[in-house]
């Protein structure tokens, strides 16, 4: 009788455990610091075959300093036979989710959005560079097994609502620290109606409520998705457990929402801020840059033209390829969209779509902190459909009722 986190970490909530890590990964940003610290520790890699290095944050490099830092990490990864994915392959969380994370695994990433991979029934959480360097050196990490908040999803998303609206809504309900030190577990028949892409979006925002992890139980949907990558996995069944808190969300009641600039938990129906002019629309990131998202955007833009600059950054090479093969990329380009290379793109405000002083962006990402996408710029967070309606109108617009 236990929560999924307790089952995977094999200890009751509240205990501190040392555990062998099944998959450890860094990106070009945190990887540089990790490598520096790993060298200071002065040991050999414990399990090189469990470590991945994925370039996504400043990919391709934006300055010669970045390029030099990346060159060092690239050389290290190759020399030590680490699983390495270079610029253009995509965002670490998406790539790990393309068949490299399995139910029941302990996955540690040097990035806060590692919680995305809880979508597969794994315990996945983010750490900083020093913790990661220690994992490189020892193969293990220590964790406090978290208490769990059980989020029961009932019904089905209706109208133009998306998993992103669900995600923003639960962060709004919990608040930015409402789940700090805890895990979120998404259960119920409503959870099973969500696709893998939708579950990743939902788990991705767990950290925005402070959670250590956001988990879905592996079911038939998970099984089928992972079978596509050659894995044969078993489903996980929820047991009665002790929960720190329980909440129920009726998916049928979810409507298109945005988070207002500055805080992810100031969530309002799009209709309340409709008409706010925007300068840029951005669709992408580890939250909403998957094929399903691009396909939806293309369908909503088909035959029309965007009225503000609209940047689309696919989450991975596979995503972009699928968009090219299916004509989705063509429809986006015809609608006036700019497509960037797979990766994080403008999400962290360092290249490729930084916004200027006083500019407003509607982004499908997960963070809208002050100056996140550029000094003096403001970021609203919303769904893909809201991004489409907003791009077509040039101002924040609810997708409900847009022909």
């Amino acid at each position: 009788m236990a929560t999924l986190s307790e089952r995977i970490l094999d200890a009751p909530a509240g205990t501190c455990v040392d555990r062998k890590v099944d998959r450890a990964f860094v990106h070009d940003g945190t990887g540089v610091l990790t490598l520096g610290t790993f060298r200071e520790i002065g040991r050999d890699l414990a399990y090189p075959d469990r470590i991945s290095v994925l370039f996504d944050h400043l990919a391709p490099a934006n300055t010669s300093v970045t390029a030099d830092l990346q060159a060092d990490l690239r050389r290290f990864a190759r020399e030590h036979g680490l699983s390495f994915s270079d610029v253009g392959e995509g965002i670490c969380h998406q790539l790990m989710g393309e068949g490299h994370v399995l139910p029941g695994e302990l996955v540690i990433g040097a990035d806060s959005h590692t919680c995305t991979l809880g979508a597969f029934g794994a315990f996945a959480t983010g750490v900083g560079a020093t913790d990661m360097a220690a994992i490189w050196a020892t193969g293990e990490t220590w964790l406090r097994v978290p208490e769990t908040i059980r989020v029961e999803l009932v019904g089905r998303l209706g109208g133009m609502a998306e998993p992103k609206d669900l995600a923003l809504s639960y962060v709004g309900r919990l608040g930015m620290d409402g789940a700090t030190y805890r895990a979120l577990e998404f259960v119920g028949e409503g959870a099973q109606t969500l696709s893998i892409a939708g579950r990743m979006t939902c788990a991705n925002l767990a950290i925005e409520a402070g959670a250590k992890a956001g988990l879905f139980y592996a079911d038939e949907v998970t099984r089928r998705y992972l079978a596509g990558f050659g894995h044969n996995v078993s489903v996980q069944h929820p047991e009665e457990g002790e929960y720190a808190r329980e909440m129920t969300i009726d998916l049928g009641g979810i409507e298109p929402v945005v988070a207002l600039p500055g805080r992810v938990d100031t969530v309002r129906p799009v209709t309340e801020v409709e008409g706010t002019p925007v300068d840029q629309v951005f669709v992408g990131t580890c939250t909403n840059g998957r094929f399903e998202d691009l396909e939806r955007l293309a369908a909503l833009l088909q035959g029309k033209r965007v009225r503000v600059r609209t940047i689309v950054v696919p989450a991975s090479r596979r995503t972009l390829l699928e968009a090219v093969r299916t004509g989705v990329a063509e429809r986006l380009l015809e609608a006036g969209v700019t497509i960037g290379p797979p990766g994080c793109g403008p999400c962290l405000g360092t290249h490729l779509g930084v916004i200027g002083e006083g500019e407003v962006c509607l982004s499908t990402a997960n963070r809208n902190f002050t100056n996140r996408m550029g000094v003096g710029g403001e970021v609203f967070l919303g769904s893909v459909a809201t991004a489409a309606a907003t791009a077509l109108a040039g101002a924040l617009t609810s997708p409900e009722g847009v022909p």
Binding site: D68, L69, S112, A137, M176, T180, L348, R372
Partner: protein, 157 residues
């Protein structure tokens, strides 16, 4: 471990983007992070951090896992950070880097002398009565006492 320094008060939900903005992360020179710490919150703060205790509102260090945030504060000479709660990645990063952090609800005004006794788990501001900090796990205490996780591992732990 006993520590002291004048308080700098900070609001709730200070995220790691605010501690050190993304645009300064890529550099070979870690002093960049010290120079630009808190720039988007208050550009005068970076120059005043040495020797102080940061007394912040709840959820300090939320957001990105960037270790440069804790690193900037440590390297700037911040003595300790006190807050009612921390985001967990920042908390771990701080301890791993040897920057003392204490979870406590501390009544305190700007500039008031703050004293911490981490072994006893107490913190006080000025002449007010001391308040208890949430105890650190033994593991975290050991890391802090060693001066950080790297030191601990180098000693063969």
């Amino acid at each position: 471990m006993r520590l002291r320094g004048p308080a700098i008060l900070l609001p709730a939900d200070v995220d790691t983007d605010l501690i050190i903005a993304g645009r300064y992360l890529r550099t070979r020179d870690p002093s960049t992070w010290v120079a630009h710490a808190f720039e988007d919150l208050d550009p005068t703060l970076a120059g005043r951090l040495a020797g102080t205790v940061l007394v912040a509102g709840p959820n300090f260090g939320c957001g990105s896992s960037r270790e440069q945030a804790a690193r900037a504060l440590r390297d700037a000479g911040v003595v300790a950070v006190v807050a009612p709660s921390f985001a967990r990645i920042f908390f771990r990063n701080a301890v791993n880097l040897g920057l003392p952090v204490a979870e406590a609800v501390l009544d305190c005004s700007e500039g008031e002398m703050v004293e911490l006794d981490l072994a006893a788990g107490l913190v006080r501001a000025g002449t007010r009565p001391p308040v208890a900090c949430r105890p650190l796990s033994q593991r975290m205490q050991a890391i802090l006492e060693a001066g950080g996780l790297v030191e601990l591992l180098r000693r063969g732990a």
